[in-house]
């Protein structure tokens, strides 16, 4: 299969249109990205980091692209109903790949100097600043999907928190997928958190139409000295959705990052998370919770690079697979020469509930420094029989006992969320999900 051909042809014929509807900073790297994509093509399953998800077949269908930036009518407040209630967040919308500025939260919610807005427009306003960060850690030479996104993305989200500013109120961004035809979306997010600044972000993906969506997303996040970033991603779309999301995070000294991906409903999802420690004393927690059934496919692929000493990384990914779901986790911790006093723990725990469900797990350690504490563990198994029996002896039915244990299993990840209303809401959603009362993007209905 040569699915890349249509994208190469598309770039050839639409290059001018892409350029004319985007910012110079984004256009400046477009041709380079095109060259990188053309050289690499779409990854086959022989490419180690893509071995569990077949990009060739996912990118083969002919999707529409909104390169001409036509106005798509939408009422994001329909999605607002999907919102996590009582979260008191500052709420923003991304309509497909564009920042939706017709429904901004009331003024005064964000501290001075904080910017949350259209990447394209901010890049036009502050080209020098954005150019310092845009397409820097998301290397187009190393990942063909990142190259494809860089070559086609025209807009997205820019988040900036200036030095020393702490944004108390969490910022919620709803990615709305809205289209009357099958659509490909290439979304771009740039997050810059300066020295000592703090922000908590919650990204929720919602599909409003029963169409096939193919989304590529590249997030670049720069977290400076003593800064803190929480990035929670909740995916609740539907079976016709394919999402390939590449997240790149760079941490400076004593910074802290919490990045949590919860997948409740989707079609095919592939999340790549690359995190690099550039300054000493930094800490990260990466986690993920996947609850999948039917033919859902969720692939989390992480790389944590300890380039400097004294950093701490923790990873916890948990999967509950039912039906014919396929789960994959490949985590790699790379401790570079000289990165002494590294502490790293990676855990991947999985439950398979049926014979048809499949789990692939690959926890990897690559270590070039001797004074380190690194451990990883991975299990695939079933619920604890002794616990099940204990619960039944107390009169709890087998079905209920299973639910309680599955719920407890998933909660270990959710309990790591440092945003209490979100945590509570997720406890609720996860329980609903396990009870089969949340059979597809029905968050909206639930809240209506």
């Amino acid at each position: 299969m040569q699915s890349e051909k249509q994208y190469i042809d598309l770039y050839g014929s639409c290059r001018d249109m892409l350029f004319s509807h985007s910012a110079d900073v984004m256009n400046a790297v477009r041709d380079g990205a095109f060259a990188d994509f053309s050289r690499q093509g779409l990854p086959t399953r022989k490419v180690e980091r893509y071995k569990y998800t077949d990009m060739q077949s996912l990118f083969a269908p002919d999707y529409g692209l909104n390169i001409n930036r036509l106005d798509i009518p939408a009422n994001p407040y329909e999605a607002f109903k999907c919102d996590v209630p009582n979260l008191s967040t500052s709420l923003y919308f991304i309509l497909n790949d564009g920042f939706y500025d017709k429904a901004l939260p009331k003024g005064g919610l964000l501290p001075d100097g904080v910017i949350i807005g259209s990447l394209c427009k901010e890049a036009a306003k502050n080209p020098d600043f954005i150019a310092k960060y845009y397409s820097k850690i998301a290397k187009t030479t190393e990942d063909p999907i990142t190259a494809l996104n860089t070559m086609l993305a025209q807009d997205g989200l820019f988040i900036y928190v200036p030095r020393g500013v702490k944004v108390d109120r969490a910022v919620q961004v709803i990615n709305i997928l809205r289209s009357d035809v099958d659509l490909m979306i290439n979304r771009r997010v740039l997050i810059v958190v300066e020295e000592g600044a703090e922000i908590k972000l919650l990204f929720c993906d919602h599909a409003m139409d029963d169409r096939r969506f193919l989304t590529t997303q590249v997030i670049e996040a720069y977290v400076a000295d003593n800064a803190s970033l929480d990035l929670y991603c909740l995916e609740e779309t539907h079976a016709k959705n394919t999402r390939v999301s590449n997240v790149y995070i760079e941490q400076q000294a004593n910074s802290r990052v919490n990045h949590n991906i919860i997948t409740l409903h989707n079609g095919v999802t592939r999340n790549r998370t690359d995190l690099i420690f550039r300054g000493e004393g930094a800490e990260c927690n990466l986690s993920g919770c996947v609850i999948a059934d039917k033919e859902q496919h969720v692939d989390n692929n992480t790389l944590i690079e300890h380039r400097v000493p004294h950093c701490t990384s923790n990873e916890l990914y948990k999967y509950v697979l039912d039906g014919k779901a396929v789960g994959a986790f490949a985590g790699r911790v790379l401790v570079h020469h000289g990165a002494q006093q590294t502490s790293s723990v990676m855990n991947n725990r999985n439950l398979c509930a049926t014979k048809e469900a499949r789990m692939y797990t690959q926890p990897m350690l690559e270590i070039y420094a001797d004074d380190v504490k690194c451990a990883h563990g991975s299990t695939v198994g079933q619920l604890n029989d002794a616990a099940l029996f204990y619960m039944r002896q107390r009169g709890i039915s087998l079905k209920e006992a299973r639910l309680l244990l599955q719920f407890a299993f998933a909660n270990e990840v959710i309990d790591g969320i440092r945003l209490e209303p979100l945590r509570d809401r997720l406890h609720y959603l996860v329980e609903k999900r396990f009870r089969g009362e949340l059979s597809r993007c029905e968050g909206c209905k639930l809240c209506k």
């Binding site: 398979c352 049926t354 014979k355 926890p363 270590i367 070039y368 001797d370 504490k373 991975s378």
Partner: protein, 504 residues
């Protein structure tokens, strides 16, 4: 006392001065250890018939002709060779495998040739006997370790197999694979390539085309092999590769324990060793396979050394069958080796125990595959990696439970110990689980010997290098305990000695 020798390339250091824990001293000690010479690097001056360098169909035909093989064997080789020509050398392992010039290697070297040409019955050149004596492998049965039968192989040819007749009394066949092709063609035809087909991988295809000698073992139904069987491999000739092939068949209700050891002279250029070991285990049978691999690892600058590219696999075909691989890997410049188990039979059990030590510029990428296919199958993986110097040591393993493998169980534990700040320790486990009743657990840790541990030992009067030996042995104990007695003592000594003072 004559015994199988397992050595480290670092002679024991009785009388060496006690090292302080100050790091400058330790570095000095590391340097001293690194400068120790490989003890078994001598060459044997014996007339050896070596065919011209290069690899083509004629060479394959020549090897087959030299071994007076039947037509079917030549066909097997030619098919493998033609397939090999379509392949590329694999590059996925975490080693820097040099581009090997397969035309610069001679594929057949026979140190026994002179005698054979006389048309007289085989007599062993006394030089060869001396060589194996020097290696600690006496080929005269009266001198041999009691309870161990040896097939000694130098370069491309089996020099001698001891205790053949005694074993034959029980119906056990233990001979070189060359002899087996002549004398037991039906058995060889049935099993050769049935576990590792020539299409398996690049080096398996190469071996299938040009393999020279190796051992063949057949344990008949219900027979418990009364002694340890062993092969001893020695590369001697220059610019040759060794492509041995071992085939072990354990019929229903049988048992055998098999040992393998190997050495090579010191040479500046890399020597290629691409072997295949195939094991078939039938109903209720049990095979234990132990390896102490100490090919020449190259010098302290990473020059020379054996490229050890080996495919080892056992198929547990029968119900309740058992197979265990135990390996102590200390030699070779590059090791690429994954002794694997295919658990086809219901209730079959497989084990993999490994200690891999790398020092200087050695690179090892080793581990196992456990493919669970039968019901109620169980596998255990215990891997201990120890890296020192500038070496790279990787564990790579696959555990797969197919949809038929109900109640499959696997436990894997992979630990790495780093001695020094310039080496690497890596873990690449893969788990593919396609069955909801399977339980698979993997855990791995990476650590170093702590200053606290060393100080505690020092305070009790144990000098640092001895403490390191103790701690490393404790670390590797789970694996060393699995070795047969003859190996275990030497292996323990080897670990203590080879890593002394490498904590930097």
């Amino acid at each position: 006392m004559a015994r199988m020798i397992i050595y480290s390339g670092i002679p024991s250091n009785s009388g060496k001065k006690v090292m302080e824990t100050k790091s400058s001293d330790k570095n000095e000690f590391v340097r001293q250890v690194a400068e120790q010479k490989y003890e078994f690097g001598f060459t044997t001056d014996v007339h050896t018939e070596i065919i011209d360098k290069g690899l083509n169909e004629d060479v394959v035909r020549l090897i087959s002709a030299k071994k007076q093989e039947p037509e079917w064997m030549l066909d097997f080789r030619l098919k493998a060779f033609r397939y090999w020509q379509t392949l590329e050398q694999p590059s996925w392992a975490h080693v820097t495998l040099p581009e090997i010039d397969y035309q610069a290697i001679s594929y057949y070297a026979d140190p026994m040739a002179k005698k054979k040409d006389d048309g007289k019955p085989k007599e062993i050149d006394p030089e060869l006997m001396k060589t194996f004596d020097k290696l600690g492998i006496p080929l005269e049965e009266r001198l041999a370790l009691s309870g161990v039968a040896v097939d000694a192989i130098m370069d491309s040819v089996s020099v001698k197999t001891t205790f053949k007749e005694k074993l034959a009394e029980k119906g056990i066949i233990f001979c070189s694979i060359g002899d087996a092709i002549q004398q037991h063609p039906d058995l060889v035809k049935e099993y050769l390539g049935s576990v590792v087909p020539y299409r398996d991988n690049f080096f398996a295809a190469l071996n299938s085309a040009v393999f020279s000698d190796g051992s063949f073992v057949y344990i008949p139904k219900g027979v418990r092999c009364p002694m340890e069987l062993s092969s001893y491999f020695r590369i001697n000739a220059r610019n040759t590769g060794q492509f041995e092939r071992t085939l072990i068949v354990a019929d229903d209700d049988s048992y055998v324990s098999y040992l393998e050891g190997c050495t090579a002279p010191m040479r500046d250029e890399n020597q290629l060793h691409a072997a295949i070991v195939e094991i078939v285990v039938k109903d209720n049978a049990e095979v234990k396979y132990s390896t102490v691999q100490n090919w020449y690892p190259g010098d302290e600058n990473g020059k020379g050394g054996v490229l050890n590219l080996v495919t080892k696999r056992g198929e547990l075909r029968g119900v309740n069958s058992k197979l265990s691989w135990t390996q102590v890997e200390t030699g070779s410049a590059i090791t690429w080796k994954y002794p694997s188990c295919v658990l086809r039979g219901d209730n079959s059990q497989a084990e993999f125990y490994s200690v891999a030590v790398t020092n200087n510029w050695q690179e090892a990428d080793t581990g196992t595959k456990m493919i669970h296919m039968g019901k109620n199958t169980k596998s255990t993986i215990i891997s201990k990696g120890i890296s020192a110097g500038h070496s790279q040591n990787s564990y790579r393993g696959l555990v797969r439970a197919t949809s038929n493998a109900d109640n499959a169980r696997n436990y894997s534990s992979c630990d790495s110990l780093l001695l020094g700040s310039d080496c690497g320790a890596h873990t690449f486990p893969y788990m593919d689980i396609h069955n909801d009743t399977a339980v698979v657990e993997h855990e791995a840790t990476t650590s170093k010997i702590s200053e606290d541990q060393l100080f505690y030992c020092n305070q009790r009067g144990i000098p640092t290098e001895q403490a390191v030996g103790l701690i490393v042995n404790g670390y590797a104990k789970d694996v060393l305990n699995k070795l047969p007695m003859e190996f275990a003592v030497e292996a323990q000594k080897l670990l203590s000695v080879s890593l002394e003072g490498t904590v930097g």
